[in-house]
């Protein structure tokens, strides 16, 4: 909106405008700087980096950190698990919530209200951490990939988002298909899904980012380490680095000899973990606000 022409520009106003721009640029720098800093550290030689003083670019350039990270079998494994989890989790969440959204949008469906209420209650009440954890243990989902995506297929919030979108598709279309003998699943697959691509993209992005970033459930359920994700590897490195700061771990010492340090390796992993988000960022940024406003008109 800014200042419309008919509001008088004063001297104080002009000073404010300049300060405002400067402050907001400063804010932007503060937001972005940690990313640049960690990138610079990841490209620096380990022994040199721990002395500090690296700001915008590496002092002693090296690619060894990335070589170490990319050759590490644990990290390779956990990347595969992270990708698997994100792909399966996103696909199931998108299809599941779209289907649920379709069901609760069918005007004549007798169970419509029942399904809505069944899910809306879960928005306000929940069992919390420990009962959920014990349930997963009882269901035998600990140390499986299933525990990452199955409990998060449906969500009341996405249901509302989907149904508010699907309600804008003329019901007559579905009705006509029903008269022609199409099954509900077919209507869902051939009409609902193709007609609600922006909504699907929006949910895919939120669910995908959520799955990629999720680490606490991995911390809870990945006991044997088979299903460790990238995030949890980074989390353990963070915890260990603060715990082992003045310990002489033999493997760490060996790494130090090769010029590698936990600090720079951590920086490299951080970049590897955050890279997918940054890469898809320009593509999904147009969906940010659409998701927010779609959620706002939920009822």
């Amino acid at each position: 909106m800014s200042r419309p022409f008919y509001i008088k520009q004063t001297k104080a106003g002009r000073v404010f405008d300049v300060c405002n721009v400067i402050l907001l640029i400063l804010f932007m720098i503060i937001v972005v700087y940690p990313f640049i800093n960690v990138f610079a550290i990841s490209l620096n030689e380990g022994a040199d980096a721990i002395k500090g003083g690296i700001y915008l670019w590496p002092r002693k350039f090296t690619l060894n950190n990335y070589k170490y990270v990319l050759n590490n079998s644990d990290i390779y494994r956990s990347t595969v698990v992270s990708v698997l989890r994100t792909v399966i989790g996103t696909v199931t969440a998108v299809l599941g919530n779209a289907l649920l959204g379709y069901i609760v949008s069918c005007q004549n469906f007798a169970g419509r209200k029942f399904m809505r209420i069944l899910f809306l209650i879960t928005m306000y009440f929940g069992g919390g951490l420990i009962p959920t954890y014990l349930l997963m243990t009882k269901l035998g989902l600990v140390d499986t990939l299933t525990v990452y995506w199955l409990p998060s297929i449906f969500s009341a919030y996405y249901m509302l988002l989907c149904s508010s979108y699907i309600q804008n598709i003329p019901e007559a279309l579905f009705e006509a298909a029903r008269v022609d003998g199409a099954s509900e699943l077919r209507i869902f697959g051939q009409f609902v899904l193709p007609l609600s691509k922006p909504m699907l993209a929006c949910i895919a992005i939120y669910a995908g980012v959520g799955h990629w970033n999720s680490w606490f459930d991995v911390n809870l359920y990945s006991k044997s380490g088979t299903w460790d994700t990238l995030q949890i590897i980074l989390y353990r490195m963070l915890n260990q680095a603060s715990a082992l700061k003045d310990m002489t771990d033999s493997t760490m010492l060996a790494e130090a000899m090769r010029g590698l340090q936990p600090l720079t390796i951590r920086a490299a992993i951080t970049i590897v973990v955050v890279l997918p988000i940054i890469v898809i960022y320009p593509f999904f940024q147009k969906y940010f606000t659409s998701g927010m406003t779609m959620g706002a008109v939920k009822q």
């Binding site: 800014s2 200042r3 008919y6 509001i7 008088k8 004063t10 106003g13 404010f16 405008d17 405002n20 907001l24 804010f27 932007m28 503060i30 937001v31 972005v32 990313f35 800093n37 960690v38 721990i50 500090g52 700001y55 289907l99 649920l100 007798a110 169970g111 399904m115 069944l118 879960t122 009440f125 069992g127 919390g128 951490l129 420990i130 009962p131 349930l135 269901l139 409990p151 297929i153 449906f154 509900e184 980012v209 970033n213 680490w215 606490f216 809870l220 995030q231 980074l234 989390y235 963070l238 603060s242 715990a243 951590r266 920086a267 951080t270 973990v273 988000i277 940010f288 606000t289 406003t293």
Partner: protein
């Protein structure tokens, strides 16, 4: 009567495909949402894994009393309230001020670039954020280095290992991650401002400050009130993942909040009933607080969320 039943059966038959699709979804929601709710009962029993909850010894409110009487309770409450209040004041005001500043910008292009950039930290996990923050705030990190170079301090500030910095660090880090994202709702509310209001004001000699005071602020006031009510209701939510990432043993007496306590007792130490009781107590108080602040807003400010 029988006509009605017949009608129902016919309806059901016609919609059996939809009902069929509903069955797995209903099973899912019962298992993953309602069974854990039932599991909350274990807060009142001395739960042993492998037994049915109601077969265990009933202890009533014992665990709630134990928790409130325990020596750590006051410390947990202090930490929770301190960080929540910092969040509800500074952390809450920052996105509003930021949104007003963004609204005053003239260049559309700069606005877009700024906003897109400001969302970025919202989309990274707390682990990644923590990793970056550790690098920035460590003794050899960029922040200490810059502060020393410009002569503000002589020796590095141990932001991460000394408890007294924790609350402020937590608040600032939350702001770094959230300002841009939280401001979206205000900025979109501002974009809906009726230009004729400002035109009318301009005729009466309204200044830019006046526009902010009499047009912009009243426009976003309902949003502010609603978000604040929700914030007050969540006053006992003083972060969780953040503390697991940013906190360490040296700063524990400053970051340990009700949620982390419940996690530590309930899962790490295996006292399931105690952990559940603590979590349940927190939720119940939270619900009461939301109702209370909502009631207050409806009576005094004529706005409410329900």
């Amino acid at each position: 009567m029988s006509k009605k039943i017949k009608h129902w059966i016919r309806m059901f038959n016609k919609q059996r495909q939809l009902w069929l699709l509903c069955i797995p979804i209903i099973i899912w929601v019962v298992v993953f949402a309602y069974v854990p709710m039932y599991g909350l009962l274990m807060a009142f029993y001395d739960y042993m894994p492998g037994m049915a909850i109601t077969d265990c010894a009933f202890v009533g409110l014992q665990y709630f009393k134990d928790f409130v009487m325990s020596p750590t309770f006051l410390q947990l409450l202090r930490n929770t309230l301190a960080m929540s209040i910092l969040g509800l004041t500074i952390g809450f005001a920052a996105p509003i001020v930021y949104a007003i500043c963004v609204n005053e910008l003239r260049s559309k292009k700069f606005k877009t670039v700024l906003q897109t950039t400001s969302y970025l930290p919202h989309f990274i996990s707390w682990v990644v954020a923590g990793s970056m923050i550790f690098m920035m705030l460590s003794n050899e990190g960029a922040v200490n280095d810059i502060l020393i170079r410009i002569g503000l301090i002589d020796s590095p500030i141990p932001f991460l290992t000394e408890g007294k910095y924790y609350w402020v660090m937590y608040t600032l880090v939350n702001m770094w991650k959230g300002i841009g994202w939280s401001a979206i709702i205000y900025i979109s509310a501002m974009s809906g401002i009726d230009e004729t209001l400002i035109e009318a004001g301009a005729v009466d000699g309204m200044t830019r400050v006046g526009v902010v005071k009499h047009v912009v602020l009243p426009t976003i006031l309902p949003t502010i009130v609603v978000l604040w009510i929700m914030g007050v209701g969540g006053i006992l939510n003083a972060g969780f993942e953040q503390h697991l990432v940013l906190g360490n043993a040296a700063t524990q007496s400053y970051w340990d909040v009700i949620d982390t306590y419940s996690y530590r007792y309930g899962i790490q130490l295996g006292y399931y009933s105690i952990g559940t009781a603590v979590g349940l107590m927190k939720s119940v108080i939270g619900v009461i607080l939301v109702w209370a602040s909502n009631w207050f807003c409806r009576k005094k400010l004529d706005t409410s969320i329900f």
